[in-house]
Every structure is written in C-alpha cells, then in structure tokens.
Assembly symmetry: C2
Homo-oligomer: 423 residues x 2
C-alpha cells in the first residue's frame, strides 16, 4: 500500500514555518513499514485542497491530511474536503457531546462559530479519538483511506501513533519489513564517506545507502526493504559491520542517538564528571549536554564567561594574559580550562573562546577563529581552529568539534581533534 | 506566474530529515512576490521523479527542484530528469573546466565516477553559477522554467538568492506586491488570539489572517496581496495597528525578530547588564541570549549550576536552604538570583531551578515544577510554575517564560510573569 501525506497551511507554503509534522508522520510510518511516496504542501485555498485530494485519490491507497481542523477562521479543511468530495457537512454527535462536556467542566460557553467549526464534519467521517477535543477523522472514498489530522504537532503525534498506525497495520498486514541503521559521522564530507564505501559489496542485493549532510554532521543510512529472510539479514548485517569498521573513529552516534549522549555515556563509564567554560558559545555546550536525560550524573557545572571580568573572576584567567594575548588566544583557553577544572568538582573540562561574528574579527584573528581547550585528569590539550559560516554555524560547529574531541579522547585516547580547519 | 518546489531525497520522504531547504526557498520567493502553490517531496526513485516533473509541467510556470545533484551514488537527479524529459546527457564544458581547475588547485585527481556525475547534464542545461563547484542549472521545457538546485542548504541558498530570484524577477516583472507582518505572541492560545480579533474590520478587503502555534509561541500573520494602492495600504496599516493595540503586552517580537533580541534591546536602552543562573535549563537561556549578535553589550555572564555544590560555591546558596527546602524551591531560586547579581557585574539577573524530567519528580514537586526568580535593581520577584510536556518542551517553555517575564518588567514594569501555569 502506497501512501502520501498532504499538509495544508499558508504558513507552510509561504515557508514561514517548517513542515515538522509531515516529517514526524513519515518517520513513524516508515518505521512501522508503511512507505510514504509523496509529501505535498498546499496553502489554505479550497481549489488547491481539492486538486491535491483528487490527485492523491488516483495514485495512493491511503492519504494523511494535516492542518486546518481547528476553530480559528483560517481553518477551512472540513468545508474544502466536503466540497471536493461532494459530501454534506453534518454535525458529529460525539464531538458535540465532548464540547458540551468541556463547557460544563470549565464553566464556560464557546461561541457558536467555535462549536460549528469543530462539530460539522463531512458525511461519513469516523472520529478517530471520540473523547479528545481535536476531531481527527477517517473517511473512505473510492476505496482509499483518508485520515484527517489536526496540524498542531502534539495532537498530530497522538492521533498518528495511537490511531492511524494501528489502523494501517490492520489494513496492510502483509507489508514488507524495513530494516534501517543510521550512522552519524563528524569530520568527513559526504564525498569522502561515499568514496570510502565505493567497494561495499552486495549493494545490489536490495540494500540502499543514503548520504545526508546534517550540518555539521554527515548521516549515512543503510536500508533494506524486503522479506525477512536469513540471506537479506546477512547482507544487511555485513554492510553494517563494514561501515562500523571503516568509520570506527568518526561515528559519533547511531540511529536516534546524539553526540552529547555518546559523550555522556563515556563519562559515566569512566566515572568522570565534566565542567564547561564557554565564551563565544554562550551556554550552547551546556545546553546540549543537559538535553540528555540523567546528565546530572556526569555534568557538574558550567561557566558562561562572556565578559573579560567573568573570565578573570570565575575562572582565574589573569589580566596579563588577557592584555598580552587577548581573550581569544591559546593562553586564555588554557587558563579557562584549568580554572573550570579547579573551580569545580569535575575531573574533566572543556573551554571555548572565539569570535562567532558577525563583528569582532581582525586580520590576525578573523571571524571564525576559535580556541578549544580540553583537560582530562593530567592531560591538557589546546587547539586553534578557523571555522567558516554564519554566527549560528560557527557556534554549532564549535560545540560539535569540542564535544567530538572529548569523545575521541575518552573513547580511544586521541589527543587531537578530529576536525581541524586551521588558519 | 505560479510556481512549485520539488525536493528529492529518501531522507526527506522517510521523515529522517526535515525539509528545511524547501521552506527556505518558499520564504525567500514569497518575500520577493513569487508565490509558491505546491511543495512536493519524493524519494530517490526515477519513476517518482518523472511523475512529479510531468505533473508540475502541467500546472506551474516555474519549478524549483532540489537535491540529487551531487557526486555520491544516491545522486540520480540528472539521469532521472534526462529520462523523464527525453533529453540526452551531455558533458558541460564549463563544469568540466571548473573540476579540472580544482584538481590542479588542490593537486588531486577526482575519480571518473565523481567527474561524470557532476559534468554530465541534460541537453539544454544552462549552468547557473559557472564558477561554482555545485552545478545548479536552468532548463526551459514546454515553456516552463525548471531550476535544478543542489540540496545542500548553503549551496541552495546561494543559488536561489543570487541566481534564481533575479531570474524570476526578470521573467515576471508585473507580479503583485505582497505585504506581510508577523506578530509573535507568548502567553495566549491560538483560539484566544482568534477570538480577540473576531471583530477585526475590513477582513474581506483582501487581507488574510493566519494563526500558527510555534511552540511555545503563537504567531499571527497579516497578509495582503494586490495592487500597491493607497486604499489597500490603508486597510493593511489599520489591521496592523489594531493587532498592535490589542496584544500590546503579549507581542514578544515581530517579523524575523525574536524574544531574546527584544530583551537585548530593552537591556541596551536601559544600560542594564544581565547575568543568568541556570539549573534545569543547563545553558539554554545563555545560548538563546548569545544567539543575538552584539549580545556582549548587555549579557555579562552565566552560571550553569547543575549540581548542589555548584549552587553553593558559585552562587552562595546556603546548605541550610538546600537541605530544608531543596534545590527546587522558592528559597533556592531567590538565593540563586541574588548570588548571580552579587557575583557578577550585572544589574539584573534571572535564576531558574526546576525538574525537567523525565525522572526526578515527586508527589509534592512533580516533573515540570520550576521556580524562576528575577532581580532588577532592588526588585526581586520569584514565582512557582508547573509546566507540562517532554523534557525538551519543559526546558523550552521555561526559558521562554523567564525571558518574557524580564521583557514585561523592562517594557512596562510588570512584576508578574505573563504565563503562569501553577500547581
């Protein structure tokens, strides 16, 4: 069964908002073995909604439509769908009950327009979650299953996972299994990754490789779709092994893992706590580390030393160093990382000082000049980098380079960062 | 002229990567007055590429296709386009020259496959940037202009802004003007915003309102497309004025602005420096503030006090307080914010302590319990919140609530946060 996703919204087709919900839906469907062939985005325009629905009815077995089901005046999906498919709008008793119950519970009274928008659904609509407030529904038309879901991300997620996927599993019990492994690499370009896999055997046996730059990482996917036979599984496992041995040092995470979670696991295994001292990244490294649940067992504290006085007072960087070499210098980074370790209860520390731009650069130290220092036990390392890009990009690649360096040191004792663009 | 965007890539249609490039392209085109009617995503499958091209040729005047132009084995756009449109693949002399020059410059030799992938383009292709390495090109077919662009975001951005938009401006000089204003609101739901604008006059005079939840904000757009007449402009300006006065207190930014930039401007105008002390947000507030270029003129330093010892040593929170009330308490937040102000050179401070989850909650202090304290000059405020959602969502709404509270205090002296979900 081939499926497609249609997202409705002026905010999407004008590029003002990212279409995160279609991607979420496609990913969950893919994992459950339901392949999506087309994703379409259109604006809040009845004629475009009609056109997209008619096209999808011709080429797909199931269609997921998101957006435009809410109570605000730009929510026009129900009217447009009824018109496009030649259906009446009828009051849905279950939704009307739910709204009356809510009015009672919150001791309020919704406007007539609000109630009408939510309760009048195209004839034949089967509400997916009779007790919820957002009325996602299923319609069967010309043998095609259409699922209309709210565009609000949390509501879409709930409808899709709890209602739509179980329903599709029921409709398509014989679907093919999909096996996929994602490798996240840092320090290599897409072309370098591809060239080192040119000789990967068995590529024609149903295995697909994908190369995706996800700044500043490159993600590599290995996918096999087909029978769950010993042969197919063997070919898949061999490809996974080959990638693991080829990129042993560059793999920062796999599947839904992240570099920061990998670093956290290494620290936990070693029983080492970490402190960070950040200037130009301004808290980004701390934010990334504490994105990881349970990070308090290996992340101890952070110093955001944006001003020179903060560097001196919080980390003990000397005024001499700042005057003689500047805040963006190997010497300052070294004193920052020593200060972070000494003025914390951590046995390891990262320090970052640099010029993220757009202002602040000079001929000697252009925008993108960054010093990263690493201290683990008695080992102190410092390196000068010259990164390129926007302020956001320089900050992102700086935090990535620092975390990856710590990963390499903890994993196999590397004293050099993996990515070293130098001035 | 109606346009559409086709993005090619298994990583997109399987939901593994967000389609950021189509959104970027649509936004830039929209701003230049070129409306996009359809955005389509398909996988690396020649038959789907063919189907999408033929459909687009029927319904659009220009088509932007991104992805699959690189040198790796999954890059199949050129072959698929040539087959779909019945064109030969021919070596492009300019691209071949560029590649030879690069080989000379870097003293390297690319593989035959690498060179072939990049130089063999469909007959009639006009390379957009003859001196770049990524060969985006234009093709005219059946009177429709097709632009093939690399999918790597930085390369797509450059091609689109430097080449495609100037070309479309030339092809469609009589396009209608678009005026749009975006208001970013925090502390209200989409429905609340909509209800307060029910009586907005002149909505039928070509003005469109859009409501978009962008967690944790609600964005409201006012769009008018049409002649640049005094009447249309007057209607637009009246709608903008109405929204500005209705949501005076809730508007955190407009257009491409952000809450953190608004806070920075208020601090700069007052000549007040800011320090932050973060526990559960772990650097996120510092990261957001330092996303703003020039933030060093109003952001002084940050303390990421993730452990109890960090709270005591860096901020002077007393052991008594931590033992009697706990690290997540009004008392701890108060001592944190006082410590941040006293141990910095800032005249204002934000302190945050809470339980972001998924672990660490209790009956008395469930996951989502957060205390935020604010200190500006002699005013000290502290408030207890109960936020809901995932770890990421709780951290995001915590940082938003804290920054919005500071904005409200600086802008009009509010001693209460705007958003107050309480336990």
């Amino acid at each position: 069964m081939k499926g497609e996703i249609i997202a409705i919204g002026d905010e999407l087709v004008s590029g003002r908002e990212l279409n995160t919900t279609s991607s979420f839906a496609a990913a969950r469907l893919f994992d459950a073995g339901h392949e999506i062939r087309y994703m379409t985005v259109i604006g809040d325009e009845p004629s475009d909604i009609k056109g997209a629905l008619h096209l999808a009815l011709q080429r797909s077995s199931y269609i997921i439509v998101s957006g435009g089901l809410g109570p605000t005046s730009d929510d026009i999906t129900n009217e447009a769908v009824a018109a496009a498919l030649g259906l009446e709008l009828q009051e849905d008793g279950q939704v009307a009950d739910t709204i009356r119950r809510m009015e009672h519970e919150y001791n309020t009274s919704f406007s007539e327009e609000f109630t009408r928008k939510l309760t009048m659904l195209p004839a034949g609509a089967m509400v997916l979650n009779p007790h919820g407030t957002a009325a996602g529904y299923e319609l069967v038309h010309d043998g095609v299953h259409l699922f209309f879901l709210p565009g609000v991300p949390e509501q879409l997620r709930e409808h899709l996972v709890e209602r739509v996927i179980p329903r599709l599993n029921q409709l398509d019990p014989m679907r093919k299994k999909i096996r996929q492994k994602i490798f996240k690499l840092f320090g290599l370009t897409e072309t370098q990754v591809n060239e080192r896999l040119q000789d990967l055997p068995d590529l024609d046996q149903g295995i697909r490789l994908g190369y995706y730059p996800v700044f500043p990482e490159v993600h590599l996917s290995i996918t096999v779709k087909g029978e769950d036979s010993p042969h197919v599984n063997q070919v898949f496992d061999a490809a996974v092994d080959r990638v693991e041995s080829e990129f042993h040092n560059e793999i920062i995470a796999t599947d839904s893992g992240s570099l920061e979670a990998t670093v956290g696991n290494l620290l936990r295994k070693r029983g080492v706590m970490l402190a960070v001292a950040e200037s130009c990244t301004g808290g980004l490294v701390g934010k990334r580390l504490t994105d990881v649940p349970g990070s308090s067992s290996w992340f101890e504290r952070g110093f955001i030393t944006y001003s020179n006085s903060a560097k001196m007072e919080l980390l003990g960087v000397s005024m001499d160093t700042l005057q003689q070499y500047g805040a963006v210098s190997s010497e300052a980074a070294t004193e920052m990382v020593q200060g972070a370790a000494m003025r914390s209860r951590a046995q390891s520390a990262i320090a970052i000082t640099g010029i993220a731009g757009p202002g602040g650069g000079s001929a000697e130290k252009p925008v993108g000049t960054v010093f990263i220092a690493l201290l683990v036990g008695d080992d102190l390392m410092v390196h000068r980098f010259l990164f390129h890009g926007s302020r956001d990009e320089i900050r992102a690649i700086t935090s990535e380079t620092a975390l990856d360096w710590l990963r390499r040191y903890l994993a196999y004792g590397s004293k050099l960062p993996g990515y070293r663009p130098e001035s």
